[in-house]
Symmetry: C2
Subunit: 330 residues, 2 copies
DNA sequence: ACTTTTTGGGTAATCGATTAACCAACAAAG
DNA sequence: CTTTGTTGGTTAATCGATTACCCAAAAAGT
């Protein structure tokens, strides 16, 4: 049951393995005649080229690594899917690396990927800074949704600032004056930008920033619930919540339900991401839509281009966001 | 910037590459002395073994492929995560293959994986029958949550029959008599078993099966919504819904909300899977919990054992399920 | 008719590891 | 003093491709 090698095919066709290789790769010269003969034998014997051997020789594995904080989060899963949908038709396979936001794991994965000979890496890192040990010096790398501040790395991200701005402005226009923002306690770039958008919108409409209304949490539904409960029990007045993540919004909604606070009558809510929970929560959540498919697709496209050295695509990409209105606002 | 090879390390240490290899793999004989020397040089030069070359020689890639219908579905994502969490510490990387339930894609992935030299495959296939072209003849394979009826393949699954049974019985015990079941129109094994559990529970309690109450849909939230709307507009009376998936349950809830039908007062609902939407829907969804982590973990464990030929683990695994009561029932 | 070019394809080195086969040196045993 | 074993290695083949270099035969040019 030993596998059919290129050498055996060559033998069967009465040519050298070099010729077979040339035919398979459309390189070098050969007659149409031998090509047909060889291809037929290849079909007959169901020959498949051994990608491992090919990789060793060519130093290209047609494989990329995707490093992701939490594949279980629909937002990331959507991006991974988009990356896959672009990469697979182009002949690439993808290694999935789930870091659970663990820096050590992340470093380990990078070394692993490097050792396994991937051609490039896409980061959806939870880290502010991409670790020095990153493969970036050796391998093409692109970051999604996280700006590591490293000039060398191409970044694809949503226009988080605008997202924060339009969400906040929408709430203001609906008459809200005391708008809570719930955001990641870590100072990662997307959150920082959304927060900036929030502040700018307040300022534009002459609403002073109230520090009591900005709550920092670990990004997790229950943390959001607790935070809002705390806000309520502390007696802090508010008439709207801008949650920097749909899941945080869901957590907030839970807390409001518990206190019988009516949404959107008493408190309006806007989330961020537009993942499917937003659509099916109660009430359905108004949220800022990120184009997850495009995020992944473009990142993959750029990476593959870098790998093929088509063009030194160095400029960063910022994708527009949009507000999708549902029932947690008017 | 050429990479450091084992040969260079050997040269630097004044030994042959064979010795270095033996030291790295803890095989054969060498003195403690040379070991120290070699290891130091390896550290100094930050040598990493070229896994591709190793794979070529040993015909083991320390890589497995996971074929999944939809990584975007939290249920599958949870399983993938569990597989990863077991595999990575054991030195394996995982290729993710998203089929979108497409049979052709599935076949293609199998060929791809085979060509890339994976050591084994885990299927979370949407297919009833695993395609003949599967790698199963050549590669260790295990199936999760889908029984392909192929005796050769190890299957890890939940006790779907019991799940269907306890869900239905719970509804009956809460006084429901006209229980709708919403299930996959395709006759895949987990659904068939849940349906069997449903029927058995009805029978046990002397409730006749009403064909009007069994609705088959494409597994999708909106399909469930439409189906329930249709049921209502058709005037079919019912006092409970057993949805074979949490997402289907969410869809059903949406339809009930639209018709101002009170949950659980007028209609009780139980879902299946216990993914996070179930926890955060309104009302929070009573559902049958599948142990997604264990599902993935055990599958990975069995696969790796098969790869290492530790034991010809041929028996199938059926994991228990449990009812988690929330607010769509009493 | 003789040179030059093109066509078709072979030879063998190479990628970076692993490993079977072999061997020198020294120790222990008889 | 020879035999046998053990220790600590070395050499070279091998895994399955790709590819630089070479070459014979045919075609084209002059």
């Amino acid at each position: 049951m030993s596998n059919i090698t290129i050498k055996k095919i060559a033998e069967l066709a009465g040519v050298s393995s070099a010729t077979v290789s040339r035919i398979l790769n459309n390189t070098g010269r050969y007659s149409e005649e031998t090509k047909e003969r060889v291809l037929e034998i290849i079909r007959d014997y169901n020959y498949r080229t051994n990608v491992v051997a090919k990789s060793l020789r060519t130093n290209k594995s047609k494989t990329i690594g995707v490093i992701v904080p939490d594949i279980t989060n629909e937002f990331f899963a959507n991006i991974v899917l988009a990356i896959e949908n672009y990469s697979v038709p182009n002949g690439y396979s993808i290694f999935i690396c789930n870091t659970s936001e663990d820096h050590e794991k992340e470093k380990m994965f990078v070394r692993d990927l490097e050792a396994k000979g991937v051609d490039g890496i896409i980061y959806l890192s939870g880290n502010k800074q991409i670790p020095e040990q990153t493969t970036s010096k050796h391998l093409p790398t692109v970051c999604i949704d996280r700006n590591p501040g490293n000039k060398e790395i191409v970044v694809v991200e949503s226009d988080n600032f605008s997202g924060g701005f339009i969400a906040t402005e929408e709430l203001i226009q609906q008459g809200c004056k005391r708008i809570v923002i719930i955001k990641d306690e870590r100072d990662v770039s997307p959150m920082a930008e959304r927060y900036r958008g929030y502040r700018e919108a307040l300022q534009k409409h002459g609403i002073p920033l109230d520090e009591n209304l900005v709550v920092n949490v670990k990004v997790d539904v229950h943390e959001a619930t607790k935070a809002v409960q705390h806000l309520i029990s502390r007696g802090t007045a508010f008439d709207a919540i801008f949650a920097c993540t749909d899941w945080l919004a869901i957590g907030a909604i839970n807390a409001l339900h518990q206190h019988q606070i009516l949404i959107p009558d008493e408190v309006k809510i806007i989330g961020f991401d537009n993942i499917s929970v937003a659509q099916h929560s109660y009430p359905p959540l108004t949220t800022v839509e990120q184009d997850k498919t495009k995020l992944g697709e473009i990142a993959a496209q750029i990476l593959l281009d870098m790998i093929d050295q088509k063009k030194p695509q160095k400029q960063n990409i910022v994708l527009p966001v949009s507000l999708v209105k549902r029932n947690t606002t008017l």
